[in-house]
Symmetry: C2
Subunit: 166 residues, 2 copies
């Protein structure tokens, strides 16, 4: 609608390393974001919290500091790759401002908190996002956000062509 | 985006008598539908199934046929009012085709089925839709749809100004 093109909106997109997240961002770019609008697209990646296992004998931790540092580096590399890919997908937007943010924590809490903090006009995310096993443990991230975020939530599934591979 | 304006999409909006549903349709009109696009907006209202209570002595039904007819008429009147209001909200759309459809059944099943049957590109709905008591009995309609519909699902909450009245 004519007045929408002029309206400044803030769209928060939760991205991760999954295909569904890529598809969610792509759907959002095609169907929600107006190329020449003054929208702000905020890309959020939530790094999972590092679990520190104490050694069974209580004398220290199961992993050496080298291994922990390697795990942290891996987490940072993944975050960088996810953000680079997301930014590449947004490169054709003209007046849309693209912001990126990497946070650490439980994605359910962090995404809800960011939507609130940023005053997002809408939250866009894939429907699973965090893999079958994590989802079983955590409950679906998107379900949680749909129930707890105040702004409209757009949940995008994997496209049909790849849905058969789930 | 320029090519999106030309793209024909089918957006299914589940409407009901609640404020949240009105807000969901309004948000969709402002943020998803392009006024001059060739989008089709499909408005769906699902009438709840009439529950027929057998009389405790098993000799017939608890309500007379007059009462049942009055209940049916009430259901039809509500459906008409909801659809009229929804159509009025869409009256300023130029090239967008607006279709209406009233079905009867469990809204969770009917909405999912219609999204599939119509090949919707997106489903838009309020987050509660069917009242606190029914929601507790049925489970959240929007949750169910977000999990079971293949297309992107946009769940819109009540606006903040009225959220305090929930």
């Amino acid at each position: 609608m004519a007045d929408v093109v002029e309206k400044e909106r803030r769209i928060l997109v939760a991205v991760d390393e999954g295909e569904e997240s890529t598809h969610a961002l792509s759907w959002c770019l095609k169907n929600v974001i107006s190329e020449n609008s003054k929208d702000t697209l905020s890309l959020l990646y939530v790094k999972p919290v590092r679990v520190v296992y104490p050694a069974p004998d209580g004398t220290g931790y199961l992993f050496s500091s080298d291994i922990l540092a390697a795990m942290d580096k891996y987490g940072t590399d993944v975050a960088d790759r996810v953000m680079e890919k997301a930014k590449r997908m947004c490169k054709d937007l003209n007046d849309v401002k693209v912001e990126t943010r990497v946070e650490q924590g439980d994605p359910r809490d962090v995404i809800c908190q960011m939507a609130e903090e940023e005053g997002a006009d809408a939250l866009v995310m894939g429907s699973h996002g965090h893999g079958l096993i994590k989802r079983a443990l955590l409950g679906s991230v998107s379900n949680h956000c749909a129930q707890n975020v105040k702004c409209p939530v757009l949940i995008v599934k994997k496209p049909k062509s790849t849905a058969a591979n789930i």
